[in-house]
């Protein structure tokens, strides 16, 4: 029997379990939505849904970057601190530019450009240390996580960096306004997700990420420039952190040492719930999107009801993560 003639449909027991893994996150999402509807009729309201999605979009955009990093067998623990330091520097740069550029979109755009640039630079640093320095990703990003966190504390002098309120007024619509009633963060999140899915599935870069995460030696013997691909995943991650931050800054107009705390864990959790393997070799962007939304919905549903304390949010998220990995077990990598 040859490849072209599989006359019997391959509905093996394994195949079925794999299917469950594929639909698992979607199933969980559907259950959560049903639960939300049954608990509170406001759950499906436009306000509630846009609110949940807009809040999830920061983590979501970062998690899409993390999907690439993890698929390629890496890890980036520094994204939360990186977000904080980028937010801080963006605010400082915008405040500093006001005298020369005046209040207006010019300053805001300069601030946004700074954010993306800084993200890219941070990614280059992480990636270079990991690929050229041959240090483990966990160690490097644990280090930069501390460095970035302490940098933002230092820049804010232990307090809070606030954006000039007139500029903040100009900037506010980037978080609060949108197109056809859909806030910008959700739109950007959706665009990044679609772009990410396309890159992961339909470009050589996406294929190479999975190859490297699956077996770095095989990738090297297959003429893939392992270091460059890996470096690119960290740069992409950094840039996406920058994108998330430029949507985040107009929300509060400030940054402090508590900005972005634990974002890295939420992002990684979203990636894993979505079905990407933590060891690398297999990743899917749509899964990550679903994973992040699941995490957001748990918090939201807890807030919408009165039986269980919302303080248990973290516990529920933890249970979901463990369940997701249990479901994934048995997938051979």
């Amino acid at each position: 029997m040859s490849v072209s003639a599989p006359d019997i449909p391959a509905k093996t027991k394994r195949g079925f379990r794999l299917d469950l893994k594929t639909v698992g996150p979607l199933l969980a999402l559907a259950l959560l939505v049903l639960l939300g509807i049954s608990l509170n009729e406001n759950f499906l309201s436009y306000n509630n849904l846009t609110n949940v999605l807009a809040r999830s979009s920061f983590i979501g955009i970062i998690a899409i970057g993390a999907t690439f990093v993890i698929t390629a067998g890496g890890l980036d623990l520094s994204v939360g601190s990186m977000a904080a330091v980028i937010a801080g520097v963006m605010i400082m740069v915008m405040n500093w530019l006001i005298p020369s550029m005046g209040i207006g979109w010019g300053v805001v755009i300069a601030g946004m450009a700074t954010g993306i640039l800084l993200g890219g630079v941070a990614g280059v640093f992480n990636g270079t240390m990991i690929t050229r320095g041959r240090i483990e990703a966990f160690i490097v990003t644990l280090g930069t996580m501390g460095i970035f966190r302490s940098l933002v504390t230092f820049l804010a002098d232990g307090g809070t960096l606030s954006l000039n309120f007139q500029v903040a007024d100009v900037y506010r619509p980037v978080y609060y306004a949108g197109v056809l009633g859909v806030p910008w963060p959700i739109i950007v999140f959706a665009l990044v997700a679609i772009g990410g899915e396309v890159v992961m599935r339909y470009t050589a870069f996406g294929r190479y990420c999975a190859a490297i995460g699956s077996n770095e030696q095989v990738a090297r013997y297959s003429s893939i420039n392992v270091d460059n691909v890996r470096l690119l995943t960290y740069i992409l991650q950094g840039i996406l952190v920058g994108v998330a931050v430029l949507l985040y800054v107009p929300r509060l107009g400030s940054a402090s040492s508590t900005t972005g705390v634990l974002w890295e864990l939420e992002a990684i959790a979203g990636v894993i719930i979505g079905g990407t393997t933590l060891k690398g070799g297999y990743g899917r962007i749509w899964g990550t999107v679903v994973g992040v939304v699941i995490l957001g919905l748990i918090g939201n549903i807890l807030n919408l009801q009165s039986l269980i304390s919302p303080y248990l949010n973290g516990a529920f998220q933890g249970v979901i993560i463990i369940l997701a990995v249990l479901l994934q077990r048995g997938r051979r990598t």
């Binding site: 040859s2 093996t12 394994r14 013997y221 297959s222």
Partner: protein
């Protein structure tokens, strides 16, 4: 050859009308098989015939879909996950199965560590491991990490581990595929020692001469069906091969077409020095098949890896079509029309968790890009081509490559290498784990490539293959080139003399033909 058919000795382990399907895909059909104490029973068959599946069932790793297993006269359900080891059924897998980060001694005693006063007795384990390696003539230190060992040494550690178990039935799935002649002989000595003690041995190999030498009985499988079980004395390598593939196999090696005497040199190597390579010089001509013989570990792979830029070259010169080149990345050599096919298909060749298509095109993905995006229909066409050309048999194209039979993995890897349409191909053990029928196909492909004007470096530990195909043969020993043989000099005895260091050509006057 003692206990052959007809002896009254009862079987220690037998399979009765065993069938196996993976999902709805049948792989084995009602197989009867048995093994008696002190006997070597060989299983042969084409790639994907179901040999590995059968012995996985016999050792409990897979459960049969129907049929029963009898052990010591009783019908049993063998426990999965290798727990049948405790019952005396020990299996050496086809694909190496050692934890890479353990030491040799730790792997050998994994799961039944020696203890003293409740603590691990490291000294004793090391001592016994060293003694085991000695009986196998393996130069592995008990403290060596598995990850640092060559494939052959890993296999020997695996064998040491199995032998050290108190096996009553020892099952080996292609143990000799990665071994050289010398190592194979050592293994056979040990097997004979074990059978003399009454151990039953099941042995899978594609090397028919080994089967003739070692086995008492042979069972032939084809497409999951039992073709026959016969005593070895009634067989010849030709008749076995015929039973295996179901047709007559003539001309295993195609006729040699000598390349033109004045064919240009396409690859010139001068005084190459790299890790494991000491001052190697040779020329490869257009349309030539240049065999590389030598013992395992003699540095042939190291030469190949230094040429294509996989390992750092510390000295010497490489010219391609007369122009000096310096590859530091595989991509550069592939672009220049020089491809290397690794012998380590599991560790370096294939992504075992992915399907056939991404594996096939991984080396040449940039040829399947349209407007920046992967063109899956072009990849699909490439797969169809490769499946046809190399007769790759997978029951389902989406199956993870790790689930293919060993031989089909090898053919897929060959297809992957040839996707880059190289002018010069370095093939490292290209027929490892491949059945005779497919071997013949591959030999003809190699010869046809050479006839087309491609140049081939054929690294192989199968002497017959090197002799049957090569126009010239380079022999290496301990990182050095000891001789270059041509024409009538290409004989097994002569190659062995150079490989063992008994004979050595003084200088490089014969390097370029």
């Amino acid at each position: 050859m003692s206990s052959v058919e007809g002896t009254v000795a009862p079987a220690v382990l037998s399979a009765n009308r065993i069938s196996k399907s993976f999902g709805e895909i049948p792989v084995l059909f009602s197989i009867d098989f048995d093994i008696k104490p002190g006997e070597v029973h060989a299983i042969i068959g084409e790639n994907g015939a179901g040999k590995s599946t059968l012995i996985k069932i016999l050792s409990g790793i897979e459960q049969p879909t129907s049929g029963s297993i009898t052990y010591d006269g009783e019908t049993v359900t063998l426990p999965p996950d290798g727990k049948a080891e405790a019952m005396g059924i020990v299996l050496i897998h086809q694909e190496l199965n050692l934890a890479e980060h353990l030491t040799a001694s730790e792997s050998i005693f994994l799961g039944r560590e020696l203890k003293r006063f409740g603590f691990l007795d490291l000294g004793e384990m090391r001592k016994r491991a060293a003694a085991l390696m000695d009986t196998l003539h393996v130069r592995v230190d008990p403290d060596d990490r598995i990850s640092t060992l060559s494939v052959a040494d890993k296999q020997m550690v695996e064998i040491a581990k199995a032998i050290s178990r108190d096996a009553r039935v020892l099952i080996m799935d292609e143990p000799t595929a990665v071994l050289s002649v010398g190592e194979t002989q050592t293994l056979f000595e040990q097997i004979r020692r074990l059978t003399a003690r009454g151990v039953a041995v099941i042995f899978i190999s594609h090397k028919l001469d080994e089967i003739m030498e070692l086995a008492d009985r042979v069972t032939v499988l084809r497409d999951g069906q039992l073709i026959a079980t016969v005593g070895t004395e009634a067989l010849t390598p030709d008749s076995i091969a015929q039973m295996m593939v179901g047709r007559e196999l003539s001309n295993l090696y195609p006729p040699k077409h000598e390349p033109d005497v004045d064919a240009p040199v396409v690859l010139g190597i001068r005084n190459l020095v790299a890790k494991g390579v000491k001052d190697i010089s040779f020329d490869l001509k257009r349309g030539e098949i240049l065999g590389f013989a030598g013992l395992i570990g003699s540095g042939r792979t190291a030469v190949a890896e230094a040429i294509v830029g996989l390992s750092h070259r510390t000295g010497g010169e490489i010219t391609l079509d007369g122009k000096p080149v310096n590859f530091t990345q595989v991509a550069q050599s592939v672009d220049a029309g020089l491809a290397y096919m690794t012998k380590d298909r599991k560790g370096k060749g294939l992504l075992l968790n992915m399907g056939l298509r991404p594996n096939l095109t991984l080396l040449t993905l940039d040829r399947h890009i349209k407007a920046g995006f992967l063109d899956s229909s072009s990849e699909e066409r490439a797969l169809e081509r490769a499946v046809r050309r190399f007769d790759i048999r997978a029951r389902d194209a989406s199956v993870a490559v790790g689930r293919l039979s060993g031989g089909n993995q090898q053919k897929l890897m060959l297809g992957k290498t040839m996707e880059s349409e190289p002018d010069i191909i370095i093939m490292d053990e290209p027929t490892r784990g491949i059945d005779v029928g497919t071997k013949q196909q591959i030999y003809h492909i190699i010869a046809a490539l050479a006839a087309e004007g491609k140049s081939i470096i054929l690294i192989s530990s199968e002497m017959q293959e090197v002799i049957g195909l090569s126009h010239r043969v380079v022999v290496m020993r301990e990182g050095r080139l000891t001789g270059v043989l041509e024409g009538a000099e290409i004989t097994e005895a002569e190659i062995m003399r150079y490989a063992a260091g008994i004979k050595q050509s003084g200088n490089d006057e014969r390097i370029s033909a």
